[in-house]
Amino acid sequence: MTQEKELRLMKGNEAVAEAAIRAGADGYFGYPITPQSEILEYLMAAKPYETTGMVVLQAESEVAAINMVYGGAGCGKKVMTTSSSPGISLKQEGISYIAGAELPCLIVNVVRGGPGLGTIQPAQSDYFQAVKGGGHGDYHLIVLAPASVQEMADFVGLGFDLAFKYRNPVMILSDGAIGQMMEKVWLGPYKERSKDVPDWATTGKTPDRERNIITSLHLDSFSEERFNQKLIKKYEEIKSKEVRFEEFNCEDADYVLVAYGTSARVCQKSVQMARAEGLKVGLLRPVTLFPFPSKRISELSTRAKMILSVEMSSGQMVEDVLLAVNGKIPVYHYGRMGGIVTAPDEVVDFLKSKIGG
């Protein structure tokens, strides 16, 4: 097996699929939905079950697929599913159970506009669903927001690592633009599938240990509360250790844009355009949406004059930005909806209108 990195020109969706094989994933369970069906198609064409032994299965529904992930994860295997917004809604029950049973797994959402059947064009309108829980009960996913095809690939391996480190589901929150876009991507070497069996996995009870039970049921209220407290502790640890973000031109910025994923790419261009006009604009790009870089945004808000949150939604992440800024400076939201990707010049125009006003 090759040890060197390999350069390819790929769609974001294809990069996820290829990276999964290379990361040594044990299983993929999915159901077709635009704009992410290339992932299942790529895996079926690549036939990893003949090389690495990775299981690939087209399930009868998104509901079945996420529950297959539950079953596989319960055996301590590296398993994943991918879908787009309406399909992710269907998976929410399963995701809640996975979080409740503290199972590691990877879920990729290639977001399209909604609500309902909505559009198949890119959007960032699933932010609340991704970072605030999504299903029922008190829980969080670790949410990674790739802004390039390269990161679509890189975050698969990172996602599995974080999932197993914290026994927690990880979501890659992408969108139709990054899923469908082709860029250069450097792919890591093929990793062997792990033979390690976590001590909690259900692989058959052997005489040297107690039986393992994967469940999220705590009928006794005190037991459920103890479990909730355990989860809170875990999330606090994640918040203290796993915040990731990137900054562009924030050092001297009077105006800070906050944007993730596709919008962060757009805003990089906006920063260049605004700087060319003499405006001191910077960009903070959250790479993790949970945990959110609240502390950094709070720090920036002591120096900057204004923060503009840019997302392809009616304004979801802006609520977390507002919490972080806590009234210190004005915070605005700008973004297009309906599958329209915000254009760089629109952001600059909006920013100028707020500076002028």
Binding site: G27, V55, N67, M68, C75, G204, K205
Partner: protein, 263 residues
């Protein structure tokens, strides 16, 4: 000779004619007196014990009365979301093809909310065993109508009896899955008498055997009772089951290729 000595004289390994199965845990079963669940649990535990496959078996419990199966049988278990056990089993089996995987599901779980998962796992021919307990009622939630509730049967959501015109017909999942190419062995049994218990045990043992041979999906329905929600004594419930349930759900093998070959 005092009483203790007398007891010790009687209780010795050589005199054992019947004992608790080693694979049943010390947890006290929460099932109502006379309920079929305990018997089917015990049958499964006995087979796993006798076949020596504890370290190779993963069970999946449903949402419903038998959610706590994992407390009673000393094997690795996963508890599934309502109706999704066959999806879990699919992945577990495909990721660990040499293990034994079984689901244990009630009628609401398997034949209502989990219909799609049941049909598709069977249709794909997953090498798993599905144990289906059909007592025609939602036990855990307090006696609501199930998809398998027979016409005229009373439940808390069909208090005047199941009106087929209004509430739809019962569904015979076992008959349906028997028509699918993926199933290998499909049978309907009961545990309301000693002879039926033996037959059910034989059927489930056979299903484990077929799973080892990777023959396809095995599906064992157990027509059972629910004395509490049927509001009957255990004895009455068994009699009622024989007289009213069995005409709709006749016992016997629906599909067993190896039996046909014997003929």
């Amino acid at each position: 000779m005092n009483d203790t000595n007398q007891m010790n004289d009687i209780i010795k390994p050589g005199n054992i004619v019947y004992k608790r199965t080693d694979l049943m845990t010390d947890d006290i079963l929460h099932y109502c007196p006379g309920c079929g669940h305990s018997t089917v649990h015990r049958i499964i535990a006995e087979i796993i014990d006798e076949e020596g496959i504890q370290s190779e078996t993963i069970g999946i419990s449903p949402v419903g009365c038998s959610v706590y199966l994992y407390n009673y049988i000393d094997i690795d278990c996963q508890e599934a979301a309502h109706g999704r056990a066959p999806a879990l089993a699919t992945a577990i089996k495909r990721l660990m093809p040499d293990k034994y995987v079984f689901t244990y599901q009630g009628d609401g779980d398997l034949a209502a909310i989990g219909t799609a998962e049941t049909i598709h796992a069977c249709n794909r021919g997953e090498n798993i065993l599905i144990v289906f307990i059909n007592n025609g009622i939602y036990g855990m939630t307090g006696g609501q109508m199930a998809p398998t509730t027979i016409p005229g049967m009373k439940s808390s959501t069909s208090p005047y009896g199941r009106d087929v015109e209004m509430m739809g017909n019962l569904i015979k999942m076992t008959d349906i899955v028997a028509t699918l190419p993926g199933t290998y062995f499909v049978t309907r049994q009961s545990v309301h008498s000693a002879v039926n218990v033996r037959r059910t045990k034989k059927a489930i043992r056979k299903a484990f055997h077929y799973q080892k041979l990777k023959k396809g999906t095995c599906f064992v329905e157990v027509v059972s009772n629910c004395p509490s929600n049927w509001k009957m004594t255990p004895v009455e419930s068994n009699k009622w089951m024989e007289e009213n349930m069995f005409p709709y759900y006749p016992l016997g093998d629906l599909k067993d290729p190896e039996k046909q070959q014997e003929k």
